[in-house]
Symmetry: C2
Subunit: 110 residues, 2 copies
Amino acid sequence: MPEGNQVHLIKAAFLKVLAHPLRLRILELLGQKEQSVGQFAQMLSVDQPTVSRHLGILKQGGLVTTRQDGASVIYRLQNEETVQLLQQLTELLKRKLQVDQELLKSVEES
Amino acid sequence: MPEGNQVHLIKAAFLKVLAHPLRLRILELLGQKEQSVGQFAQMLSVDQPTVSRHLGILKQGGLVTTRQDGASVIYRLQNEETVQLLQQLTELLKRKLQVDQELLKSVEES
DNA sequence: CTCCTATATTCGCATATTAGCATATAACGA
DNA sequence: TCGTTATATGCTAATATGCGAATATAGGAG
């Protein structure tokens, strides 16, 4: 692990990779099973070049690996850790949004 | 919790708030103790308007709250959960980078 | 080799993010 | 009130990110 402020650059870069709705959707699907580019494009209703580009970003970020299967390229998770982190993020937001809603209610009631 | 693809928008927005080196540094400091804008600016060697802007982004993202103290504004964490999540991210990256280094070595040796 | 399918890349354009400077606003003390 | 300190906001230029359309590349079948 590099030291000093470099760490924050690395962390920020990693978070940046995650911070896109489509990439989150892709990772969610990848948590269930590996898939080809075309399959993602179809399941997500997004055009092929866009999916390819985002998969490329995930790959460059070290989140996924690829395997050639005929003319197709199969993408899979490099490991499960990132998905676990995202699940914890989900829980965090679930709680946070609940709190926000309660705050909103208490404001309305007053 | 909103449903469907909205969730990914919310998650991405939250991650986007985190995905900046300076904001990560600020959160790290905030994990230790609350502070004023000027104190952050000094500790981080960043000019005041920049710090103020990033603190504003954190506030709007629901990560921090503010309290007036004389002419100063004290920023503090809204809760500890986000910092915990970031610590898990740290662990994740620590392992990931270790693996990468080993991969690099094994490539060099072959 | 040729065609077809699957994937990746490039380009152009619109939008978003950021830092730095100047300036506005707010709180306080004399 | 006036001056000082602390914070926030407008503005601009530079950079980054995003998408869609067209194009390039790679693999397999015949």
